[in-house]
């Protein structure tokens, strides 16, 4: 199979495939200009000096998208998927400048600690990650197909580098509307859900410290992967996220702790920028449509509804046998 299908499974409304192809071509052309940055900008934590909402939260509403790359490769974000038979040229790989630049000119790993940029996997877990990656391009078992190809939510942290997304805020709540999936972050002191409840997008409790939204994340079902390179956590993973906002930019830093899988906690850093009405539509960072404004009103973007499984049961969810991964029956695997 190709990854053309895989990369655009979350289509707004019921796009015919031809539109998807057209969008991909447009994306490829846009990528020749400035699609991804090789530089990680880190915003310092401190006081918030910008606009506030009625409940005194910093007002960070709007559409955001990560600066660096898509989800092809977690620790070498602009390096493409190792083992890619198209040598980085496949259409899905919007993250790669073509030809692929030397490692030193590509964005650093999303793992900012430890310094080697690698997830500190225990040996057995590293082997599992490598097994997923080795089978990614020719999946002979369902488990080698990324869950997103079935329309599953991208989870934590992959949602943050899977297309642009919108933040809406309400008294006591920060809402993330991702291309695939939703997170409702409660800012009150209510306890997490009972630990036996496991969720694709986990369970989030947050509070503001100056310009930083601090979120405690638990109840993860551990089914999502961090990227096409197959990194993962267990259901016991505990994540503490820091979303540190500046004007038009923010930095996500999250510490992942999971003694079952890792040898030590590690830190993920993801820089992101704001999408505005002056940002062109590009099918990745900015997937919004122009609102139909009455005459005399300024241009305004809005997001259309998102459906996925309704369109196609996740086209791309195909094992090497060629049989589609239907919802209702297990697929025979070699």
């Amino acid at each position: 199979m190709t990854n053309i299908d895989r990369d655009r499974i979350m289509t707004p409304r019921t796009w015919p495939m031809i539109s998807v192809v057209a969008a991909l071509l447009a994306v490829t052309q846009a990528g020749a200009q400035m699609r991804w940055s090789p530089t990680v900008v880190v915003d310092p934590e401190g006081p918030w000096t910008g606009r506030r909402l009625a409940d005194h939260q910093p007002d960070v509403q709007g559409v955001w998208s990560n600066d660096i790359a898509n989800h092809d490769n977690f620790t070498d974000p602009q390096g493409g998927i190792p083992g890619d038979p198209s040598k980085g040229l496949h259409v899905a790989n919007g993250a790669v400048d073509r030809p692929v630049k030397p490692r030193s000119e590509r964005a650093p790993s999303r793992v900012s600690d430890p310094a080697d940029g690698e997830v500190p996997f225990q040996p057995w877990a590293r082997a599992k990650q490598q097994e997923f990656l080795a089978n990614f391009f020719n999946p002979t078992k369902q488990e080698y197909i990324e869950p997103g190809a079935h329309c599953a939510p991208a989870g934590v942290p992959k949602s943050l580098y899977w297309h642009g997304y919108e933040i809406r805020q309400y008294p006591g709540i920060v809402l993330f509307l991702f291309n695939g999936g939703t997170r409702i972050i409660y800012l009150d002191s209510r306890p997490h859900l009972p630990s036996t409840i496991k969720l694709w997008n986990a369970d989030s409790r947050g509070h503001w410290e100056g310009n930083t939204l601090v979120v405690d994340v638990s109840n993860n079902n551990a089914k999502a992967r961090f990227g096409r390179t197959g990194e993962f956590a267990s259901e016991n993973v505990h994540v503490v996220e820091h979303y540190t906002f500046a004007a038009g930019h923010y930095t996500y830093k999250a510490v992942f702790t999971d003694p079952y899988v890792y040898t030590r906690p590690f830190t993920v850093t993801i820089p992101a920028h704001r999408i505005t009405e002056s940002t062109p539509q590009d099918g990745w960072h900015n997937e919004q449509e122009w609102a139909n404004q009455p005459p005399g009103k300024p241009p305004l973007y809005e997001n259309y509804e998102r459906v996925c499984v309704e369109n196609n049961h996740g086209h791309g969810a195909v094992v090497a046998s060629g049989k589609p991964a239907e919802n209702t029956a297990p697929v025979s695997t070699k």
Binding site: Q129, I145, K223, Y260, N292, E305, V307, N327
Partner: protein, 277 residues
Amino acid sequence: MTAKSMTTGDSPGPAWSCICLVVVLFAASAAAAEAPHATRLTGIARAADGRPDLSGIWQVISTADFDLEPHSTRKDAPPGAGVIEGDSIPYLPSAMKQRQANFAARDKLDPRLQCFTLGVPRDNYYPEPFQILQRPRDLTLIYEFGNSVRTIHTNGTLHPAGDNPEFWLGDSRGSWEGDTLVVDVTDFTDKTWLDRAGNFHSDALHVIERWTPLDRDHLEYRATLEDPKVFTRPWTLSVILYRLKDKNIQLIENYCYTLDYDRYYPFPGEGLPSGAP
């Protein structure tokens, strides 16, 4: 206002309830005598902009999703008196045949069984909670079933122009008439059903919703459906939505469409031989 007290669960006696009911009925009839725009309800939650605050987690207590029309009990549905003004849906003859075929195969064809987005109005009376989050510019409705996200724009924008797209939840543009949120919903797909009994519509569906607070914890939800391909005339359903007040109530994500494949994605450490962590 007395209606607020009625819902607190403070063990009012039967006589007390009866008095309250009379008061509420009197208030309702007085309000009805006024022009809609003049109506300003008391005892309801209000947002900073003075509009009714519909924020909260809501759910019906109704058998509407089993069958909108009056029905006796059957194997797959508890009985219900129906939620339609005039009791029955005015189908065109050809559409009635389709409805009957849908009903006969409802255990296979209901889109709910695939966890597809339920659509409007069905999502609002499906027996699972949904959350309304409100800003002056829009209301966001998150339906626990399938985690469907709907935006009702209240910023003066219009339905999409030109060659309209089709949406599972329709395109929703709302405005306030007094204390009632009136939402015009268009641009539907024909893929959704109205209930588990096979009641349906076409892509020509047009829905006008009226959301009116009754007190802090109850909303009246009315939807008028017109669809010249399926119905002989517009018709209206109405249900009451109840605020969920359980301690620490929150939506629990229900991506039910993942249930058929999530077994393929166990935590990779499961089933490891002994010696593994």
